[in-house]
Symmetry: C2
Subunit: 393 residues, 2 copies
């Protein structure tokens, strides 16, 4: 039995991770961390019987206990709250593998602690590497922690790179679906509703990442993530728009050969890969059926229509704390869009405002990153208020 | 300097192999074997100065010398003839790598001798494995010879398999362009001219293999070849028609993941890979440009319209000497088609006639294979004469 903890168990990745664990059979869930979805966490707790759960605050803890007892699940687990709770889950002594699947910056410190504790990290929380890739990868090198990417693109790159020598890889090629606005005009994107932006053509994911997919910021964050996961410079990480999302990503070798990973669009594949690596095991998914693939197409991303992607490349090239500032500004802006406070097209403007105000510094310690994050959020809110005022939403 | 010999140097693969050797720079060509194209061999000899050349017979040798002296190339190399000559090339003491690129059964014994001598074999002569895969792979295991496939499909499979564990591979998927008659009706195929059949949509290759591509026998022979190169049973080797020939082949893993190799349609890629493996080196080809790929499509092969593919699977499942009989019958039938003696649709009929008359035996030694080959050719000629008589060509 392998022991596993999940940070963000009630989210899309977390729920899928539990399905994978059930399918694989030889896993014991020792700890679950959730935010506010207490009904779901109670259900998961009754089913998987973790020793420890973590919730956002004391109110949530009460709600959790009420929901848990409603299910008649027997003895309640130990309950912790807030970041302290997530850190307890991330560093739980028994857990060999931590699924890091919280959304946004909240998972940052707990994931770092798990890395320092030498765990295997099934990493879905991309902010971790975007905010402080250098810190994280140095900590992993020091502790021997393994970082296994759970998003489909980096997971695909990990698979493609298995048999190859790094110096013979010319570039990484991330595929992007292009999101729901790929074929739309600038004006249509400007006026896109929350519902339109949340209507991703291929993937069922959480709200934040779905909006990031609509702006292509998701791909930008993935470029930054790839830089740290695989140690390639920005110039050697390309993006190709591939609307069918069948090819999950590719690598180009020095001899011109392209190695690609293809599969169904279900996160359970990447999650299972990260758990069982270096082994592969049969999973519970339908295999890719080539008879059903009518066609695969590829096109270049339009950086003018989707300025978030260009901003992410820019932040990566500037380096230091700039990607952390970009990430924080994006989180604030996306939440504002989800709250109907701004238009979709304001998101890159807010990020640009924050980046222009940010003086990048080397990522030498955790404090600098957290300070950057806090300052960028403040500046994002300043920009947001200006936008909201201007557009009178 | 690495030393290399080429069997079939004046053919399509041979000429490309010499271009790759020139590009790589650190190779010495020690021996060249050709058939009857003496002008080309003389030119190659003047340029690469091998110690030894082999030609079909004494008349060819005279022609070669005349052509060679016309070029003022200095001292002539040692000249040998016939199978003995090809064997001398295949086992040349100085040669570390042998490119086995003769067309048809003629390369069979020389390639076996090179395998027994423990050389690295860059294998383009697919008949070698089709006729006697078991003998060849046993000989390679005994001598430590490495078999590196040079045709694009198996080369792609070799690349895909680099980082994987065999027991985790569910199946190999060979892609097939579908040839020039993919979208044609049975009647159109029946009445196809030599020129139509030689007009391959994606690949520039020799005549024999181009006809095999038109009948899908080429894919059938590749299925048999894959069985021996990678040790997978027929049931675990699939074929997908992919008319654009961008995806050169794929593997499906037990977890449903597909690993694919994509590239430009130029044999020089696979040849260079086979020479430099396990290293990859920059080559002289334009990289694959995703902006130029309008679409990639996939469909199932039509075994009724292309019975040669079904016959190859059948021969592989029967096993023993049956694939050798299929191969011999196909060679006779294709030559007859190229000589305008039969229609394209007679090719599978001749093969079926030969297979029905053949009593398969275990491939326990070389003689059995050669005997099968000879007997199958005789039977193919019998069938051919019947067909020719019937169609009054």
């Amino acid at each position: 039995m392998k022991a596993i903890s999940i940070l963000g168990s009630t989210g899309s990745i977390g729920c899928n991770a539990l399905k994978v664990v059930e399918h694989l059979g030889d896993y014991r869930v020792v700890a679950l961390g959730a935010g506010r979805n207490m009904a779901k966490l109670a259900e998961q707790t009754a089913r998987f019987q973790p020793e420890l759960v973590s919730v956002e605050n004391e109110d949530c803890a009460e709600t959790f206990l009420r929901e848990f007892h409603k299910l008649g699940g027997g003895a309640a687990p130990k309950i912790e709250t807030g970041e302290k709770g997530l850190i307890a889950i991330a560093t739980h002594e028994a857990a060999e593998t931590i699924v890091s699947a919280t959304v946004g910056a909240i998972g940052f410190v707990p994931t770092l602690r798990a890395i320092e504790a030498g765990k295997r990290i099934a990493l879905a929380n991309k902010e971790t590497l975007v905010m402080a890739g250098e810190l994280m990868t140095k900590a992993a090198a020091a502790s021997g922690a393994e970082l296994l990417p759970v998003d489909s693109e980096h997971n695909a790159l990990h698979q493609c790179l298995r048999g190859e020598t790094k110096k013979e890889v010319k570039r990484l090629i991330l595929t992007a679906s292009g999101g729901p606005f790929r074929t739309k005009s600038r004006l249509e994107i400007e006026n896109a509703t929350r519902e339109q932006a949340l209507n991703h053509p291929n993937w069922k994911m959480g709200d934040k990442i779905t909006i990031d997919s609509a702006t292509l910021m998701n791909k930008g964050l993935e470029v930054i993530e790839a830089r740290w996961l695989f140690d390639f410079p920005a110039e050697e990480i390309g993006v190709v728009v591939h609307p069918q999302s069948v090819v999950h990503s590719m690598i180009e070798m020095v001899d011109g050969s392209i190695i690609a990973q293809l599969g169904v669009t279900d996160m359970k594949h990447a999650i299972q890969y990260a758990l069982t690596f270096p082994e592969r095991q049969p999973n519970c998914l339908e295999p890719l059926d080539f008879r059903k693939i009518s066609q695969l197409t590829f096109e270049e991303p339009d950086m003018e229509k989707f300025p978030c992607l260009a901003l992410a490349y820019k932040a990566l090239k500037i380096g230091g704390t700039m990607p952390a500032a970009l990430n924080a500004a994006n989180e604030i802006a996306v939440q504002a869009f989800l709250d109907d406070k701004i238009r979709l097209s304001e998101i890159p403007k807010i990020i640009e405002f924050v980046m222009n105000r940010h003086q990048p510094q080397p990522v030498s310690n955790l404090e600098i990153v957290l300070e950057t994050d806090a300052q960028a959020r403040k500046n994002a809110i300043i920009s947001l208020e200006k936008s909201a005022l201007a557009t009178k939403i």
